[in-house]
């Protein structure tokens, strides 16, 4: 019995269909991406020239904090959950997610979490101003009163993530089509499965650390207060025990997307599938035992510094396996360079660059120099933006025709790619120079010798920002007025169950499971 979606707003409010929920996740995260991007534009506009021009230093601190929080928890994480909602059931031949009602709940609490967080911008005392890492005692003893809104916001966002992950694990483990064995799963499904386990393990730790802050601020405990027998360094340990796996939570699904796109446009199967699976698992395991490399300057004993340094460098091995597999997949392939492939190749190049600067930061004696400098800012934007966001953009262009049955404008897509690629590098390469020259992060002003590269960096950031508006326009234009396509395989080289479905993908798919050989 075929029936379509409900009419009106109820379709979205009471949505249990994985495609509808995926769509909402994607639009919500794009809205957050624009909000966080606006904060970034304010930051770069203020840093365009030395001295204070546009905003007060207090507000600048709120901008850096909110930019980080909104981008990590509002833009990148929900966008990949949205992609997982759309693609995992299609790729494993399932009719829907395993827990559709929980899926609705996990999406619909998100806007409330971010409403709490963003509302602090309009309150007395202002938004959180202690950096996205919210180190105690900045976030406890010296925090604005609005910190409680931040804490409850993080609780809600964390609950949403945990529910989303449980749903994904239950779906992948229980709803695979007959014959879809674990080692036949598309790599996007594998990377998301591992990511979901990471999320279930560390999001409660994040909830725990903000709960301890809440107790310290309001109920007289002293977890992080030395005056009461606590220790602010403990905060950093617990935070980074969450925070380092979090980095891989963000990047692993991006690996999955790229592993789907590169074989399609190379017209070759992915090289080294099983090594990809094992490398992903190895990265996930290692992510739990390297957290203190964020804390080399806290006064760790030399044995600790050495351990965390070598363990961190070890992550380069499985990551290298993945990069070489992508390159080998392209090697002697019949390559074509549509927009998704351009973003995917840029991902491989720029993510590797970000990985190398990560290795530089892993060297404990050198890190003491680089710590909290713009070098670090440059490094993590290479892995977060050129890594996660480029891969997300590639994924959206890749699957958009399948979702809406219309083709995006290839010329505009390529134009967006080149503006984004060039703008991104103009924005972030100079930040490495600035950091090495000694410019610290998170300040509203800087010494005169940093002026030129800051101006260059700001120009690049504005370019990159403009490219996102073009992206928004291209996606809306595709949905409203794109050229209709009904080919099952949008891309001739594409493999996988999602390409056996009609285009656009019907509201209900795989009501009878497909047979996988």
């Amino acid at each position: 019995m075929a029936h379509g979606p409900a009419k009106g707003i109820g379709r979205w409010l009471f949505a249990t269909n994985h495609k509808d929920i995926g769509t909402m996740y994607l639009w919500f995260s794009f809205a957050m991406f624009l909000l966080g991007g606006t904060f970034a534009m304010i930051i770069r506009a203020e840093l365009f020239a030395p001295g204070m021009q546009l905003v007060k230093p207090e507000f600048f601190n709120q901008m850096t904090t909110m930019h980080g929080l909104v981008m990590v928890f509002g833009a990148i994480m929900p966008s990949f959950v949205g992609l997982a909602n759309w693609m995992i059931p299609l790729q494993i031949g399932a009719p829907d997610m395993a827990l559709p009602r929980m899926n609705n709940l996990s999406f619909w609490i998100l806007p409330f979490g971010f409403a709490l967080l963003a509302s602090t911008l309009f309150m007395e005392g202002g938004a959180p101003n202690f950096g996205w890492t919210f180190y105690a005692p900045l976030s406890t003893t010296y925090a604005p009163d609005t910190v409680n809104f931040f804490i409850f916001g993080v609780h809600i966002i964390g609950a949403s993530s945990i529910m989303g992950s449980i749903n994904i694990i239950a779906t992948v483990l229980n709803l695979r089509a007959p014959g879809m064995t674990m080692m036949k799963l598309p790599l996007f499904v594998w990377t998301w499965l591992i990511t979901a386990f990471l999320l279930v393990a560390v999001m409660p730790v994040l909830a725990g650390v903000v709960t301890m802050m809440l107790m310290d601020i309001n109920f007289g405990t002293s977890f992080f207060d030395a005056a009461g027998g606590g220790d602010p360094v403990l905060f950093q340990h617990i935070f980074w025990f969450f925070g380092h796996p979090e980095v891989y939570i963000i990047i692993l699904p991006a690996f999955g997307v790229v592993s789907a796109i590169i074989p399609t446009f190379s017209r070759k199967p992915l090289f080294g599938y099983s090594s990809m699976v094992y490398a992903t698992s190895a990265i996930a395991f290692l992510s739990f035992i390297v957290w203190a490399h964020h804390m080399f300057t806290t006064g760790m004993p030399i044995a600790g510094e050495l351990y965390f340094m070598y363990a961190t460098m070890l992550i380069a091995v499985p990551t290298g396996v993945k990069v070489f597999n992508w390159i080998t997949t392209m090697f002697r392939g019949s390559l074509s360079f549509e927009t998704p492939m351009l973003f995917a190749i840029a991902f491989v190049i720029l993510f590797t660059f970000g990985g190398f600067t990560g290795l530089m930061l892993a060297v404990a004696p050198a890190d003491i120099q680089y710590h909290d400098s713009y070098f670090v800012v440059g490094h993590f934007h290479y892995v977060m933006v050129a890594g996660a966001v480029f891969s997300m953009t590639a994924g959206i262009y890749y699957w958009l025709p399948k979702w809406c049955g219309k083709m995006y404008d290839e010329t505009m897509g390529k134009l967006q790619f080149w503006i984004a690629f060039i703008g991104f590098n103009i924005a972030f390469i100079p930040q490495h120079f600035l950091g090495l020259a000694g410019m610290p992060r998170r300040y509203a002003d800087y010494a005169l010798q940093f002026s030129d590269w800051n101006m260059v960096s700001s120009i690049g950031a504005f370019m990159y920002g403009a490219a996102q508006l073009l992206f928004l326009y291209n996606v809306i234009r595709t949905i409203v007025a794109g050229e209709p396509t009904s080919e099952e395989k949008t891309w001739e080289g594409a493999e996988g169950l999602e390409w056996t479905l009609p285009t656009p993908a019907p509201f209900h798919t795989f009501s009878t499971p497909p047979e996988v050989k």
């Binding site: 395993a98 449980i166 279930v200 560390v202 409660p204 403990l234 617990i238």
Partner: protein, 183 residues
Amino acid sequence: MPINATQKITLKLVVVAIGMFVFAVFLMPPLYDVFCELTGIGGKTKGQFEGTTAAVDVEREIKIQFVATNNGAMPWEFSPLQYQVRVHPGEKTAVEFYAKNPTSRDMVAQAIPNITPNNAAEFFHKTECFCFDKQVLKAGEEANMGLVFIVDPELPASVTTITLSYTLFDVTEATEAAVATTN
């Protein structure tokens, strides 16, 4: 009610999530304290030293520096009388710290010691220290507070300077609360 495979895995994962929350809030802080105590990381010194050490090692000379800090809004004047002394390991040395309560109310303070470098902490023995007790000063009162220490001759050869830092905490309210409960 029969439980299907999806409910089973959901239940397990919910238990894992709650377990990780409990681990973060209730286990990580005490584990961290135990770890720091066992390894000596954090530079916490031990209590009163009762034993004796070997003969004085006149070949070595260790520089001991003293730092006195007020925590937060603690209003006392607090400083070492000598900022630096040179001692031989095994030698018993006495120094004094000065404290004055300039406020118009009676106050109680507690000094918390910390040693840098960390690996010197277990070789710095205090036979007498004002930090073993709370310090009570009436309004406007001042006092010299004593410290007697011995540097263990076993001190690693790499250590030539030890910094002993005291942070003074205002515990007036906490002490009054404790007295009120006992009465």
